[in-house]
């Protein structure tokens, strides 16, 4: 996997022709994406933000998909500082975009994630799935919008967000939005927010797990499937270790 590094004006510019996988290590400050996945090309982008450094970050810009292009974004963010993510994707005919995002927000962090997908043409597909764990007095906002333009027949989209709220005085928001101007489409959205589900918690505790053991098992379950998507073994194991040690839940 090749690493993408920003240029001197914090831009990541890229035109993907073939079938590429890139990693992005999000450090400090702003990061502007200007990426085009060309016709029939495919891009897999793994965006990591680990526990350090201690500084806020932002990501904005576009990842556009030409005809029959494929995009898969996996983002894992376990940093304790603020971040604002606002990425837009234009989808041309036959293209498919998938975003899978796992986030922990703790301390006093404020994290906002917004993925806006524009279905411009027929047979376009988008799938946005975000999972988060909120602790302490942090904030976590999952905003996702799919716009399906008129004439984009057979378009498919799903916007999904889940936050497990373990915070004392935190703020959580999940707001998946669908704007649809075409009849012949498949579109759905799902939002789940709350303490870990009571039914699951009761079930696990009824088998002998303490509330804390059950809660951490459930939140690990939220994040682990996303971490498993990271292709670099070293990075994956490092993130997995963090998840399994429940680094985001204070004792």
């Amino acid at each position: 996997m090749k690493e993408l590094v920003a240029n001197s004006i914090n831009q990541i510019r890229l035109e993907v022709q073939g079938c590429e996988t890139y990693g992005v290590d999000v450090t400090c400050g702003p990061l502007h994406f200007d990426i085009v996945v060309k016709e029939n090309a495919s891009l897999r982008l793994e965006i990591i933000r680990i526990k350090n450094p201690v500084c806020s970050a932002s990501i904005d810009g576009r990842i556009d998909l030409r005809k029959n292009a494929h995009l898969e974004v996996v983002m894992v963010d376990f940093n304790k500082e603020d971040i604002n993510v606002d990425l837009h994707s234009d989808l041309q005919e036959g293209s498919k975009a998938t975003y899978k995002v796992a986030v922990t927000s703790s301390g006093h962090a404020k994290k906002v994630y917004n993925f806006h997908v524009f279905h411009l043409d027929p047979h376009t597909t988008s799938f946005v799935k975000m999972a988060g764990v909120l602790t302490d007095e942090a904030e976590l906002h999952f905003l996702g919008t799919s716009d399906i333009f008129k004439g984009s027949v057979k378009a498919k989209t799903r916007q999904e967000g889940r936050i497990a709220d373990l915070s004392t005085r935190g703020k959580a928001e999940v707001s998946p939005i669908l704007n649809i101007d075409e009849n012949d489409v498949v579109a759905s959205h799902g939002a789940a927010l709350g303490k870990v589900p009571d039914a699951s918690l009761f079930y696990l505790m009824s088998r002998g797990l303490t509330k804390k053991e059950a809660t951490s098992l459930l939140t690990v379950g939220y994040l682990k499937p996303f971490v498993m998507e990271i292709s670099d073994t070293n990075i994956r194991n490092r993130l997995l270790g963090y998840v399994e040690e429940r680094g985001f839940i204070d004792d």
Partner: protein
């Protein structure tokens, strides 16, 4: 657990009283068939014994060997030897079966089980309920068929070897072969000394596990507590005879209102 004594138990759910004074003395080795029409408090009794937070005990006590379990947390009750097989086990995504099984076994032990012993124990349990070991890497109950979920409940019972087992309609959604299998697993657990309270609407399960006694719950109370001949009577005649012989009227379950899901937007600000 040698004895479970339930004294004048009153339980409310969201302000509505469901159990209205349940009395029951239950001894080690008892296998009790708990009968009664839908919506009259059988599952509520189980949830109250297990400690579901939605089920509020307003008065009365549940004593396990003289110790009041109502002040115990749910996991403490499990460690005390109480096990409830859920009527509708929840799907827990992200939690792999095998990780979960290992953790629940260890939660009931002083020191962690040796890996080799764990694999053997698990293999044996899988065979007993006829589930494939492929289930190990699947997430807990996620995407399981109705029958698989029920068998997974019994599998957990086998792993934990509890003193008191509460079975809530374990036979619903099972085909005939699976029912035979589950019946056999339960009978085996009975020979190991576990006591059972079994809710079922069908005599078939009872005929496989041979209960030692039977009780009928109507309107939040145990109205009949006696021998196993009651099972046959209910199977053949329903509950009409209770009204006739005991003069107790049976209200039908209320029609539940239909609630439409709200649009997918959620916001919580404390």
């Amino acid at each position: 657990m040698k004895q479970l004594v339930i004294k004048n138990l009153h339980v409310s759910v969201e302000g509505k009283e469901i159990l209205k004074g349940v009395n029951l003395v239950f001894n080690q080795g008892d296998v009790l068939a708990l009968l009664g029409p839908n919506g009259h408090g059988k599952s509520t009794l189980f949830n109250a014994i297990m400690g579901h937070p939605r089920y509020k005990i307003t008065s009365g006590s549940i004593l396990a060997d003289g110790e009041d379990v109502t002040s115990m947390s749910v996991d403490e009750r499990s460690k005390k030897g109480i096990f409830m097989a859920f009527q509708n086990p929840p799907e827990v995504s992200g939690v792999e079966n095998m990780d979960f099984f290992k953790q629940i076994i260890n939660s009931h032990r002083e020191s962690n089980i040796k890996l080799f012993d764990f694999y053997n124990k698990l293999k044996e349990a899988y065979q007993e309920v006829n589930l494939s070991e492929d289930m190990n890497t699947r997430h807990l109950n996620e995407g399981f068929s109705g029958g698989e979920k029920k068998r997974n409940e019994i599998l957990q019972m086998l792993l934990l070897n509890p003193g008191l087992v509460l079975l809530d309609e374990i036979d619903s959604g099972l085909d005939v072969d699976a029912l035979q299998l589950i019946g056999k697993a339960i009978s085996k657990q009975i020979t190991k000394g576990s006591s059972f309270i079994v809710i079922s609407h069908y005599a078939r399960l009872y005929s496989l596990i041979n209960p030692t006694r039977a009780a009928v719950m109507v309107d939040g109370k145990i109205v009949v507590d006696g021998g196993v001949d009651i099972i046959d009577k209910v199977d053949k005649q329903g509950y009409e005879w209770i009204r006739r012989e005991l003069g107790i009227s049976i209200k039908k379950e209320e029609d539940k209102p239909i609630v439409l899901e709200s649009c997918a937007r959620n916001k919580a600000v404390k």
